[in-house]
Every structure is written in C-alpha cells, then in structure tokens.
Symmetry: C2
Subunit: 329 residues, 2 copies
C-alpha cells in the first residue's frame, strides 16, 4: 500500500520478480483491492499459483509519526508483514511506504540482532566504478561512535553479500582525508575502525562518494539522509536544467534525439531504481525500503536485493563480524 | 599564491576584474614572480597603473594546519593581505588557497564583528531559480544552536547585498520538513529562528537545495562541507558517466556535437566559477575564498562578490541585524 504510484505499480513489480527470480510473493493490503489490481495487471485467478494475498486493513501514510503509527495501526501492511517474517512465513519484507514506520515496525516485530545497538538504513549509491553502500541514511540522527562502528560492520556484510567483495573497503565520511579532520564523532569513530579487523581506508570526503574507491561509506543518519536527498535533488535539477538548455535550439534538440540512447543508458546508470531498495540492517530478519517513487522495475530490483540478502545469510555475517569486533559498549 | 592552476591564472583573473569593475588590485606574493607573470599575462610595466604588488615571501600550502600555518608564516600572502585590510589599505582579500588558513588569518588579523560568536564560510549554490547562500560550509564542525542562528543572520545579509532580496527567505537544512524532524541542534535552532525577525521558512531537505525556493540555507559546517563536496563530486561524476555513454556510439557523438552549446550553457549554469567565491562572514572586514581549481573567470567573479559586499556594506547589515536579534548567549 506504500509508494506514490499506487498499489498497481508495486504489484507489477512483484509479478516481474516472481517470474524472474523463481520465488513466491505475498501481497499485503486489502484483499479485494489487491485482487482487482492483480487482474488489471494481467494476472487472473488461474495464474496466481505463486502469488498469495495476506489481508491487512490499514496502511501507514507517508507523513504519519512512525511510533504512533505502529502503536495504533496493528493491522497495517508493515506490521502484518513483519509478523509473517517473525513467524517464518515470509523470508523478507519489501515496503515502498513510510521508512521511519517500516524501521519501527521491524524493530517492534523482529527485534535487533545480537549485540546490535542501533539498527539503521543502508542505501546503495551508483559510482564511476562499483556501487557503494552508505549507512546510515536516516534512522539515527543522533549517533555515538559505537553506532557508526557497527554501521561499518553491517554495511560491510551487506556489500559482501550483494556485490561479492570478500573484504569491502570502508570509508568514513568526513570533511578532509587526514585522520585529524572532522568532528568529535568522526575522530572517535576513526579510532574504533582503525583498531578493528575491518578493511578500513580512512576518511573520505563528499567528493569521493561517486568515485567508487571504497565499497562502504559510514556516516550518521542525519548526514547520510542529506547526502541521499541532495544527490537525488541535484540529479533531477541538473537534468531539468540541461533539458531547458536543449529546448532552446533546434540543432540541440536534434542532437538530443541522436544521443538519446546514451542519455537513457546514463539515466539507467544513475537511477536509484536500478539498485532497488535500501536494506534495513541490524534487525532480526530482512527488510527493504524502496523509494516512494518506485516503478515496477525498482520494486523488482528491491525484491532482488532481499533475495540476495536472504540467500547469502547477511544476518549471520553481521552477527559473526560483530562478535569478532565486540566493543563492550 | 593559492589555487591549483598557479599564480598566472589568478593574475589573469585580477586583470579581468580591474578592467571590468573599474577597481585597483594589489597582488600578493613574491614580487619578482608576480612581475614575471604580469608580463606573461600581457600586462607590461607601463600598463600597471591600477595594479600594485605587495611582496609576501611565504605561501600556505593546501595541506598545512591552519593554526600552525598562521602562527609560523607571518609573511604569508594571507597574513600580509588581511594586514592591509586591517590598515584600510585594501577593502577586501580574495584567496584561492587553504580555506581553513584563510579563515584563521582573517580572525587573527581582523577579529570578529560585534556580537558574532563564530564566523563562518558561506557558499553560493546554483538552483533552478536564483542562487542560494548556504552557510556554514566548513569553518565550524561542532555547532551550537546560537551559531546556526547567527549563520542565518549573516547569510541573510549576504543574500541581501549580493542578490538584492529585501527579505531573504531562510531554510534550515534537516531531514524532514516538519518542525519536529532533525537532531537536537536543528530542533533548537528552529525555535530560535521562529522567534526572530528573520523571514524563516522552516526546515528544508537535501532535495530542496537545488530547487531555489529559499534564498538562504543554514547548516553546521560539517554538514555544509559535505553538501558542497558531494554536489561537486556528483556533477563531475555525472558528466563523466554521460561522456562515457556518448563515446559508445557515433550517432551519440554527432548528437553531442549538435547539442554542444546547450551543454556548454548548462555547465556554465551549474559551474561554481560563475558565482565566484565563498564569502567569509562574521569577520571585521571582507574576505572571499575562491575554489582551489579557480580559473581566471572564477577569480574575476570572486572579486565581483567582494566588490558587492564592500559597496553594499554587508558588515553593517550583519551588525545591525544581530543587534536586533540579540541572543544574550
């Protein structure tokens, strides 16, 4: 029931994933509405062998307070969904709804992994090389060095299972590459990372984010969320500005037509939809937050992220790495 | 002596400004080197009526610690230059060198304006509408709400004198538009701004930065610096990615040629060089930090920013607005 494009788009994404990844899916929401949308999406009753519906009468709005929403709406899609994960009836939940509420529902229903102080949200950014996993992008706006250290561990396990890096290289987001640069939080986190068994490459700056020289970037949720949003905003604004310039002349318009495929491939390369979802890390189960604007393709890819995390047992890896790097907080 | 392109580029920028804005300039650095570069830039002895040279034997490197640099290098360009400003022999200083050291030298030589707790660095970002002044972008990595409040006052005066807005609209950078969203620093700053005489529009998100719906955006120097660097990094990476896609096909290359002017105009629109420098605000004088990569054009535009700030008495405006909004810290 989340997502700005309505349930039809999400259902189409789920159907794509069912076909492509050979899995079963449970659609959460008002049963009648889902049945109608399934039919509209070209999936009649007879074609629903691997599609299940779990009725949930409520949905959490994008602007609702997460804590209140999960307290009041026990029959919301995210609460019912994480309930299924808890009972072992589902392996993972994907939601394009309210991220704060999805995180709160995950913690409420599933709890934290052993030794995790604060679960967080990771996000996968495109770069000039391989994608980079950035954590936290919004769950924890007030952080201690121990949280950031654990984000490094969790994002590192995530990069490992998603991209197959044996030993993901970790950067700490700061305002200068030298160890002494940054605020107190960064300096103390730097000391913790340096002493750890992780492959820590030191501080990275904002300008390094899209270079792809590290596999993981660690920051607090306030900074990470602003990075995510400013990047989305800039990409959108830049395309709009370029479009305005192109519209000003006929040769430029013709040129654009000729280069259209290059533009499309470029957009594909920087599009969040290609990477799908933002994994919730640190919870005792698998949850993926998908962008509110998610297209069917983005939903399909978010499901793929969930599949990879389940298949490669990301949580076992997190628990083991945390145990090896116990901070005794 | 700052700037990645060497003194020649900076001198060319200064010469452009002298011609275009009808002003005199003092070039700071080793006298002989400057004389040689002036001649190379096509400005012989006889053409130097409005060009002066002030000898400074030292230069601060980009990687030097600001505090140490200004203590040890009394005869560096920035120390000598702010000395001239202090003595009233110059109206402003423009530097493309080490920003931390430039700020430290400004505070050391000029001191703070009345009631200013922490001076900071403002930066001018392009948007879909008018440019926005963002402050702080790196001078203060650990902030209290009172600092951010004063950044709002100072950046607001700056937007007023640079862009002629009678009452610049101020946004507070956070991770949600509602008043309750953000960390403690943001929530407390929000309360201060709400009670003030400023035109405060509430929280803005990262995605709003390039929309141009506010004239000023306030944040701490850690967050602001990351915003600045991530935007530069993304713009660069995106152009590189688009270039790679275009190179893959002949029609796309032809298309690019046809649309080249649109690309150039687009780049001009997003280029930091068009806006010139980052004003130091809160110091008792005028100082502008120019990007290390500054071209002659960027230097010329940074000088224009300095001229506007001097002509429109930005510091009088800051002092008056602070007096009206005294926080009794």
């Amino acid at each position: 029931m989340g997502g700005d494009r309505g349930p039809g788009e999400i259902i189409r994404g789920a159907l794509l994933a069912v076909d492509e990844y050979d899995l079963e899916t449970i659609l959460l929401g008002p049963r009648e509405l889902i049945e109608k949308e399934l039919t509209r999406a070209g999936c009649p009753d007879s074609g629903r062998r691997r599609i299940h519906i779990e009725h949930a009468s409520q949905a959490v709005g994008m602007e609702e307070s997460p804590v209140e929403a999960i307290r009041k709406k026990k029959d919301s899609t995210i609460m019912v969904g994480f309930g299924l994960v808890k009972q072992g009836k589902a392996d993972a939940l994907v939601s394009a709804g309210n991220s704060g509420a999805t995180m709160a529902a995950a913690i409420k229903k599933l709890g934290r992994l052993d030794n995790v102080i604060r679960p967080g949200i990771a996000s996968i950014f495109p770069t000039l090389k391989s994608p980079v996993v950035i954590m936290d992008v919004g769950a924890n706006v007030e952080c201690r060095p121990q949280y950031l250290f654990q984000f490094a561990v969790m994002a590192s396990s995530c990069a490992h299972v998603l991209f197959g890096n044996q030993s993901p290289k970790i950067g700490l987001l700061s305002i200068g590459e030298e160890a002494g640069k940054g605020n107190t939080l960064i300096k103390e986190t730097h000391d913790l990372l340096k002493k750890s068994s992780l492959d820590y490459a030191g501080n990275v700056e904002g300008r390094d984010v899209f270079q792809g020289n590290v596999d993981v970037i660690v920051c607090d949720g306030f900074v990470g969320n602003i990075c995510l949003k400013i990047s989305e905003g800039l990409a959108e604004a830049a395309m709009k500005m370029l479009g305005q310039e192109i519209k000003k002349s006929l040769p430029a318009q013709l040129g654009y037509l000729l280069a259209r495929k290059a533009f499309r491939d470029f957009r594909k390369r920087v599009d969040y939809a290609e990477y799908g979802g933002a994994p919730l890390l640190g919870i005792n189960g698998i949850g993926i937050i998908s962008h509110g604007k998610s297209t069917a393709l983005a939903i399909k890819n978010a499901i793929k992220v969930a599949v990879d995390m389940v298949d490669n047992r990301v949580n076992d890896s997190i628990v083991a790495t945390l145990a090896r790097n116990n901070l005794h907080p």
